[in-house]
């Protein structure tokens, strides 16, 4: 058996047994089979941590969906195939899902190469590829079966630029970015917006994902003499840069993209990330009910663990999938059409998510302006640091 969530399977069979006892033995055949979603993502390899985080978000969303009676009276389940986020494997998985009639839509993959390599197969096979972490500008151009709730960097980066330039008053910026499709695209949008707001870009430095040592890079940044550092990073490299910046004597204000938003950022960065400013699309103390419900549910299910952004993405994605299946049923083509029809789905990231039919993405991401104070993320009080 593959990696169908074991818990839901056990639950499913329990429910089946009870249903069988209560009604008649013949009745359960069709409707007690769960509606199955395919997930293609990394469970092993260098990106394994993200696959693990996805599962937490999915499972939480599924618990809530099942508790509310499932989707159209049936349970929702997923089959997670490990692609290691490797394009060779994601294309094989794509064929597997496309030719498996039980799969009604697909979620993933994690990275752009793996996702976009599989896109032609999903497009031709007529199965929705719902890439919820794919911010590559070309992802949804793969065809009308590609949809994404990943916030386009065209949306997010101007918000960060406005925070840094307009609100914090930084005029001369150094940008450090992860040199991947995501980091590069983000950097370009950020630089464009920051210049429009009147800032000068003193230096930009791209680093590869495996990089651990940033001291020489930061000396270069120091020589450019900026008054603010912008980190387009994930939480682990962001924390490393912040620590090493202090070591080379950089004490300028730092701003970071929402992707550093994770309790891990605080844990890994320690005192060095104190006063780092960041825009984020969700914040646990955000008073919105969607966020409160998500945080409470997550902590209850995972022993008090704080959720982070990737948990939120996958949780939202599963809820979105449920909303879409509710309208589209189990027909693959109808599910594709349902993406255009869903309205105001409750979402941690967007508040209410509705797709833009042209871009096949959700528009209108909101940013909370945060700052790290006393080892905690806090809403920024407007005071410069």
């Amino acid at each position: 058996m593959s990696n169908i969530d074991r818990r839901s399977l056990i639950k499913g069979s329990l429910a089946t047994m009870m249903a069988g006892a209560a009604v008649s033995r013949a009745a359960f055949a069709q409707s007690s089979e769960p509606i199955l979603l395919g997930v293609s993502g990394p469970l092993t390899g260098p990106n394994a941590q993200y696959g693990a985080q996805w599962k937490q978000g999915f499972d939480l969303a599924l618990d809530e969906i099942q508790a509310a009676g499932g989707v159209n009276g049936r349970k929702l389940a997923y089959q997670f195939e490990d692609s290691q986020s490797d394009p060779r494997q994601s294309v094989a998985i794509a064929q597997k899902f496309v030719s498996d009639p039980r799969i009604v839509m697909e979620l993933g993959d994690f990275s752009s190469p793996a996702s976009m390599a599989a896109s032609p197969i999903y497009q031709r096979g007529g199965l929705v590829q719902f890439g919820f972490t794919n911010s590559h500008p070309d992802f949804t151009k793969g065809g009308d079966f590609m949809w994404s709730t990943s916030v386009s960097q065209a949306d997010e980066q101007p918000l960060l630029a406005s925070y840094a330039v307009k609100r914090l008053g930084l005029k001369k910026l150094a940008v450090l970015h992860l040199n991947t499709d995501w980091g590069r695209t983000s950097r370009d949008y950020f630089v464009k917006a920051a210049k429009e707001y009147g800032a000068e870009i003193a230096v930009t430095e791209g680093y590869i994902a495996e990089e651990r040592d940033f001291r020489s890079t930061l000396v270069r940044v120091r020589d450019a003499n900026p008054d603010g550092l912008i980190l387009i990073s994930y939480y682990s490299d962001g924390a490393l840069i912040a620590r090493q910046a202090r070591q080379v004597g950089l004490n300028q204000t730092m701003c970071a993209a929402s992707s550093v938003y994770s309790p891990k950022f605080l844990e890994l960065g320690g005192e060095a990330v104190e006063n780092v400013h960041l825009g984020t699309r969700y914040f646990p103390e955000d008073p919105r009910p969607e966020v409160k419900k998500f945080i409470a549910g997550f902590k209850a299910k995972y022993g008090g663990q704080e959720p982070d952004a990737f948990n939120a993405y996958s949780y939202d994605a599963m809820n979105m999938a449920a909303a879409v299946v509710k309208i589209g049923g189990t027909d693959r083509r109808a599910i594709r059409d349902a993406f255009a029809k869903v309205k105001d789905v409750s979402s941690v990231i967007f508040g209410q998510a509705t797709f833009d039919v042209e871009s096949r993405r959700v528009k209108g991401a909101m940013n909370a302006e945060l700052v790290v104070r006393k080892g905690q993320f806090a809403l920024w009080d407007g005071k410069p640091t």
């Binding site: 593959s2 990696n3 092993t44 390899g45 260098p46 394994a48 941590q49 696959g51 693990a52 985080q53 195939e81 490990d82 394009p87 060779r88 494997q89 294309v91 094989a92 794509a94 064929q95 030719s99 498996d100 752009s112 190469p113 976009m116 390599a117 896109s119 032609p120 590559h136 070309d138 151009k141 793969g142 450090l176 040199n179 499709d181 980091g183 590069r184 695209t185 430095e205 791209g206 680093y207 590869i208 495996e210 990089e211 651990r212 040592d213 001291r215 020489s216 000396v219 270069r220 120091r222 020589d223 682990s236 924390a239 620590r243 070591q247 080379v248 004597g249 891990k264 890994l268 320690g270």
Partner: protein, 607 residues
């Protein structure tokens, strides 16, 4: 000006970090002539044991170090006893492959135990910083330097002045002679592995504290940098490893200073290639010293290849050809398409590594060159896809051979290391040469495969196309091996001095092999580009090179049918194990180890 002081200090600090790994690698290479690809995994294990000690048990620093050293040493002893000792009398490549398998197993075990999330490993030293230049140095920086230099010094003294040290050096020089002189070779090996593993473990702990961060993906990068540093210093030379590491750190730091961060690793691997070309034995090994490899047939297992009758091959090809007509799922077809693409790459590698004796660890670069060429030809110049793929093959043949040619005068493991570096360099050039390759954004919208104006889109047509291309390449290669040329190739592999004495121009024959091999690999990359429709610099990575090497060794070096069989097996196995999810790579590693243990000459034997 003061910034250059800082660049120098930073380079030395990170060089010290590399030295911690490189010293262990050098020690093992010195004795077993083995590049231990599991050293990075022991470093990983050390970091996590350190995390348990510091965060869970709250041990003080000296005790933490001792604990980590002892635990890592035990891991090293287990690896030596159960992973490597049984391979003593098999081919040289077997232990190398075994260390790769062991690293899979260790990395995976750590990941399953601790989850893949990064963890903070707090430094147990006070956070005092001393002002140096425009930056600062802390106690941990000094401790790392101290541990690196002290361990190198102690090892030097141990090798030079103790009885066991003499035994180690004697074994390194001539194993059989040492054995005849009464040296307990196994004990020597054990001691060396124990010491190297202890060092590796402690380095993981210190580096983890230095960055306040450990994660399960850190082992490969550590191994790569360690290997570069070690070879630059002179493989097997312990003080050389330290100096090589410092040099590597400095070159990287100055490289960043002059050109920017994204060129950092490019500098590291260029340094390696330059050193290998100018001083093939490394900077600190006397040029007059005999090369550390025996000159003949180093990697090739003496074996009688399994002869597969012609009719059986015909039946097999026919069977695979009619598969799409049977009710098989597209998933099976797609998996086999992957196998045929890997098969073309394996044909390429089995020719250069098996027939020619040039073991390449950077073969993915040939895929990348073919893929980018074909993608760009069809997208920007609107060349028909069929021709573009051939163009990719030709470009891989030409450019690949040109890039690899500096390594032609190298031998044995040095060829592997040089090709590994060239593979990395190609990936980094693709990342940085944005005007042509579009850098990290990658190339999207690559048109699908087509032939004479007909798009090959259905899985069956792509399947037939790639199967046909692979069979044609295999037939050509089979013909080549049976010819006079093929015999010359094998003569060079088996004894290059004798071959030269008979008037064979080594470089020209090696070039020919790489031209043919490069073409096959380039075609494979080209087809993949059109199949995926999106490629970037990460699509063809080191893991792909290692996979290809695994395939050809599994099938039997130089064996055309073996390469294809190996491809089907190694594409198929992970798919079969897909149900095992997180345990998949662990099982794959164990299977690899068992294969190396019980069939080191490959399933079908070496030709």
């Amino acid at each position: 000006m003061s910034s250059w002081v800082d660049y120098t200090i930073n380079g030395l600090i990170v060089g010290n970090v590399y030295a911690l790994v490189a010293v262990g690698l050098a020690l093992i290479f010195g004795v077993s002539r083995l590049i231990n690809f599991a050293q990075g995994s022991i470093y990983l294990v050390g970091a996590y044991i350190g995390w348990v000690a510091v965060v869970q048990l709250h041990t003080p620093l000296p005790l933490t170090i001792i604990l980590v050293a002892v635990a890592a040493a035990i891991v090293g002893l287990i690896i030596e006893r159960f992973g490597l000792r049984p391979l003593q009398n098999s081919v040289r490549i077997a232990p190398l492959l075994a260390t790769i398998g062991i690293s899979f197993v260790l990395d995976q075990l750590v990941m399953l135990t601790f989850s893949p999330n990064p963890r903070a490993l707090p430094s147990q030293l006070p956070d005092i910083r001393f002002q140096v230049g425009g930056g600062t140095i802390g106690p941990l920086d000094l401790l790392i330097a101290g541990v690196g230099l002290t361990s190198a010094l102690l090892l030097f003294v141990f090798l030079r002045y103790t009885k066991l040290g003499w035994a180690v050096r004697a074994t390194a020089q001539d194993r059989d002679a040492a054995m005849q002189m009464g040296v307990d070779v196994n004990r020597v090996n054990q001691a060396v592995f124990g010491i190297a593993a202890a060092l590796g473990g402690v380095s993981g702990l210190l580096v983890g504290m230095y960055y306040n961060q450990i994660d399960t993906a850190m082992s490969l990068q550590a191994t790569l940098k360690g290997v570069v540093a070690e070879v630059v210093g002179g493989a097997g030379n312990v003080p050389g490893a330290v100096i090589g590491s410092l040099l590597l750190g400095l070159v990287e730091s100055y490289g960043v200073a002059m050109l920017g961060t994204s060129y950092r690793n490019l500098f590291a691997f260029l340094l390696l290639v330059v050193v290998l070309v100018l001083r093939p034995n490394g900077l600190f090994v006397s040029a007059r010293q005999a090369p550390p490899e025996p000159l003949t047939g180093t990697f090739i297992a003496p074996s009688r290849p399994v002869q597969i009758p012609r009719w059986a091959l015909l039946v097999a090809v026919a069977g695979f050809a009619i598969l799409p007509l049977l009710p098989v799922s597209f998933y099976v077809l797609q998996t086999l398409i992957n196998a045929w693409l890997l098969g073309m790459l394996a044909l390429s590698l089995t020719l250069v590594a098996g027939t020619m004796g040039q073991v390449s660890l950077g073969h993915a670069a040939l895929l990348a060159i073919g893929a980018y060429t074909s993608a760009l030809l069809s997208l920007t110049l609107a060349v028909p896809v069929g021709l573009a793929v051939i163009g990719g093959g030709l470009m891989s043949a030409a450019l690949g051979t040109l890039l690899i040619s500096p390594s032609f005068r190298l031998r044995g493991h040095y060829v592997s290391i040089a090709t590994l570096a060239i593979g990395e360099i190609v990936a980094l050039v693709i990342l940085n040469w944005e005007s042509v390759t579009r850098g990290p954004i990658g190339i999207s919208g690559i048109p699908p495969l087509s032939l004479f104006g007909y798009d090959l889109i259905s899985p069956a047509s792509v399947y037939w196309f790639s199967l046909a291309v692979m069979v044609v390449l295999a037939l050509l290669q089979g013909r080549l091996l049976g010819s006079h040329l093929g015999r010359s190739f094998r003569a060079i592999r088996d004894d290059d001095i004798a071959a030269r004495a008979y008037g064979l121009g080594l470089n020209r024959y090696k070039s020919l092999a790489f031209i043919f091999g490069g073409f096959a690999a380039g075609i494979s990359g080209g087809i993949a580009a059109h199949l995926y429709s999106y490629i970037n610099h990460e699509t063809f990575n080191t893991q792909q090179s290692i996979l290809a090497l695994t395939v050809v060794i599994l099938g039997g070096l130089g064996n055309v049918v073996g390469a294809i069989l190996g491809s089907v097996a190694l594409v198929g196995l992970p798919e079969v194990f897909r149900v095992a999810a997180e345990y998949r790579i662990l099982i794959y590693g164990i299977v690899l180890l068992l294969l190396v243990r019980f069939r080191p000459q490959g399933l079908l034997g070496t030709v």
